[in-house]
Symmetry: C5
Subunit: 80 residues, 5 copies
């Protein structure tokens, strides 16, 4: 998994039908790489998150073939 920070959100009105409704968040890794991850947890901008990638991300959507290759699986606890 990678540790990343939520930096934005994207909307896609025209999309394939198998893409589930839900938040598509833009996240940035410590190294500066950016990606779009599906967020089932309702994360906020600035939040540190744990992102899983590849087919295991799609496996979260049991019983459906979902074209999601990046999924937020946790919010990382931060001492603030």
């Amino acid at each position: 998994m990678i540790q990343a920070r939520v930096i934005g959100k994207v909307w896609s009105s025209r999309r394939v039908e198998s893409l589930p409704r839900g938040a598509l968040l833009e996240v940035e890794t410590e190294g500066g790489a950016k990606m779009i991850a599906f967020d089932p947890l309702g994360c906020d901008a600035g939040e540190a998150v744990l992102v899983t990638q590849g087919s295991v991300a799609a496996g979260y959507f049991a019983g459906r073939a979902v074209p999601v290759d990046a999924l937020i699986i946790g919010s990382i606890d931060e001492d603030k």
Copy 2:
């Protein structure tokens, strides 16, 4: 997923039979990486798109073993 922009199109007349007919678009990520993605949505040059990669891209073609590892799953809404 990654956010990318459509920058071109490639044609392949000599191809394996299991590659579906359809547009093969060249896309470029913000970081400058280029790849070829299968486009089921009819995207245009210059359009911002969401690309999924790996085996979940092939999973879009239900019931067939398709050698597609990058798929455009959405057009990203842009305020213009």
Copy 3:
């Protein structure tokens, strides 16, 4: 697999239910890349470990669809 060193640990209280309870260690590769790996072995900070990635990492959790894409599969013997 990649060779990496344990450099820390992350906690995630708010997480998807399918993420197993267990240690989530931050590891760093020789090249300086950082990632979070699930640790079934109880590794310590500073320990050299072998990390497997992708769907085979999730395959460790037999019979469950687990969103884990990086798993520590061994502690590397070091002459000290």
Copy 4:
């Protein structure tokens, strides 16, 4: 998929049995990355090709578990 150019060929006499007989071509991407791809199409040196990677490459060999993670799926049409 990635766009690459055929730059050579490798031979491997001592190999695992599950690796199919066929050409193993060295290809180079625009970015300069090199990889070895299985070629079912009989491509020539210098030819521009489309390469798919990961488990979908192995899926081309129906009914067999084949350790191929890069496959040439098309020759790219070039105006010459």
Copy 5:
């Protein structure tokens, strides 16, 4: 697949049970990236090898869920 050269070996006494017994070789690509690959062929230090990655590497171990994501599938013939 990638072309790499064997540069060493690692031992792991404390390991998950599903990791098969066998040589774990350190290999280096032309680009300088290093990884650990399972070696079913008995390769030597300095030998040029072909490495496959991802779930197809694990597929080599038929009937078992093995956490191996890099496998040496051939020794590359070199004119010496």
